[in-house]
Symmetry: C2
Subunit: 324 residues, 2 copies
């Protein structure tokens, strides 16, 4: 069977995925999202004037949540500030890509990294004639946040789609992938989001808030089906795919990254350890392990700059190979 024709064979994995989507709560405004995606991809594939088509990358960012109750009061959250995804988005745009930024609500946004935690309070003041002014040390950061961000959106190079739960994340990711399928090798997936491995199936979930009667609370969570396989096999089989592996234990990190590379047939797996992830990452490919470090001679450098440079280079080679 040709895995590129989009038909679903009846393997256990496909059945698992089907059951995950069937039992998920319906995505709000699913038609609106698909319409936005179509327009965005069309605009960047056939840009006005004489421009050549832009490559499109889907950057996922932030952690997904797993609701424990249907009327959600409690949920399990996978920690991620979204820093990696937001910064990478800036470099992809700079490198000429159009970015679909699939991000967790409330996490870091592109062009806003150098702002303080509470920008509105810390960056602005009310002057005597009661106009709002930017406070001195923050002028450049605020300008960058406002103007670069507006330029990317207005230029049609950045589409932002928010999610909260694992259900929303996977449903939107599927829509994105299927919309990008026709881009073939020009499509990139940069899957930096921290996705839950376990979830409580919607139908077996308590409808109401779990009561704290006396005694401990026992919970059983089941594994989220491995959607990376479906992405590679069915949704967008020609896309260049980069996934991330985060561990707190450096001893098992590279081994787990290699396993993920093979199992899901990724082109690259970015291995990062929780405590050093802002300093360095190791990019694992089929035959290499490339250590990527931030430029420590520069105070405001980051590891995303050399990482995206490496990825763009490899993606270019991949596009070339696919054209042959």
């Amino acid at each position: 069977m040709d895995s590129r024709n989009g038909s679903v064979s009846e393997t256990p994995l496909d059945a698992e995925i089907e059951s995950f989507f069937d039992s998920a709560p319906p995505l709000k405004d699913s038609a609106g999202i698909i319409k936005k995606l179509k327009e965005f991809i069309e605009y960047n594939s056939t840009p006005p004037g004489k421009g050549s088509p832009r490559r499109v990358v889907c950057v996922t960012s932030g952690g997904t949540t797993v609701p424990l109750e249907q009327r959600c009061v409690r949920y399990i959250d996978n920690f991620s500030s979204g820093h990696r995804g937001a910064t990478s988005t800036e470099y992809f745009i700079k490198a000429g890509y159009a970015v679909i930024f699939l991000y967790r609500r409330g996490t870091f946004q592109p062009y806003c990294q150098s702002l303080p935690e509470d920008p509105l309070l810390e960056c602005f003041e009310c002057s005597d004639d009661s106009t709002i002014q930017v406070r001195q040390p923050h002028t450049e950061a605020v300008k960058r946040a406002v103007s670069d961000h507006h330029a990317a959106i207005a230029g049609g190079h950045l589409l932002k789609l928010p999610f909260t739960t694992i259900f929303e994340y996977l449903q939107i990711l599927q829509s994105i992938a299927m919309s990008m399928k026709d881009l073939g090798s020009l499509a990139v997936f940069y899957l930096a989001a921290a996705v839950s491995d376990f979830y409580v199936p919607w139908k077996s979930m308590a409808e109401h808030k779990i009561q704290s009667a006396s005694g401990p609370l026992d919970m059983r969570l089941v594994q989220v089906p491995k959607m990376l396989s479906a992405l590679k096999k069915e949704w967008a089989p020609m896309a260049f795919c980069i996934s991330f592996k985060l561990e707190t234990d450096s001893k098992i990190l590279l081994e787990k990254a290699e396993m993920a590379l093979k199992k899901y047939r990724m082109h690259m797996v970015v291995a990062n350890e929780l405590s050093t992830r802002k300093e360095e990452v190791t990019v694992v490919t089929g035959n290499e392990k490339i250590l990527v470090c931030r430029d420590k001679t520069q105070a405001d450098s980051d590891v995303e700059e050399p990482l995206i440079e490496l990825i763009v280079g490899r993606h270019s080679a991949y596009v070339k190979d696919s054209d042959l």
Copy 2:
């Protein structure tokens, strides 16, 4: 035994609380927090000039998290936007109170309610001469957010303390309560935060990220000790205490609120149902159930305005009674 002398008797509850605090990861900058609290309370107890002492309310806001791993990648979160706590803080300050705002990082802040989700992007623009300007429909909201907020902080009437985990929340709450003890009946606790009922004891927690081997994940969470009892009995026994009860099932809501009122000897329990909590709440006291609704004839009214009015009235009566 006089419960007001602060000594800890060896009841099972006390032992549970002791063991919770003993096993919790140490709070960062605990000495700094206590110093800030002391200065804030002293300033408001003996304000400069001829002002009379301000009453002090501790408003807790947002949900706590329960880490599932020591090097925290995953945690259970109790959902709360922090809207109630942030809005209530504004009304308490307006009514002449000093507010210690104990809030979950990233949740709603006082004076920022009428701003859009991403204020920096939506409210500002870069003009032709590259100065940053407020966009027209948002001028008033931004002014309010910046100037009222600054005025409250600069005036010494608002102290903001952030938390993330259940461990941080309860440790800081204890410090606040003990700092407020000497205020006697002038102290108020308005406990709007959504606090986890269950937690994983720090010492029995996995050090590293839980691996997603095949098969389901079974978790055992134990109950968080009932700190409201300790607050009333030991930490600040004369304070006027209001707690909140949130349920998704209206059938059990009032019954649970009454139980909480009696069990923890609260002065008031605010009962709110998830789906209608922005429209109305029921305040349960020893002999009343008072329905408090927002003024539906006004588009921008909220339920916090009449709620805080009711509480301030009851607190005044309580202060008077305590003086007799």
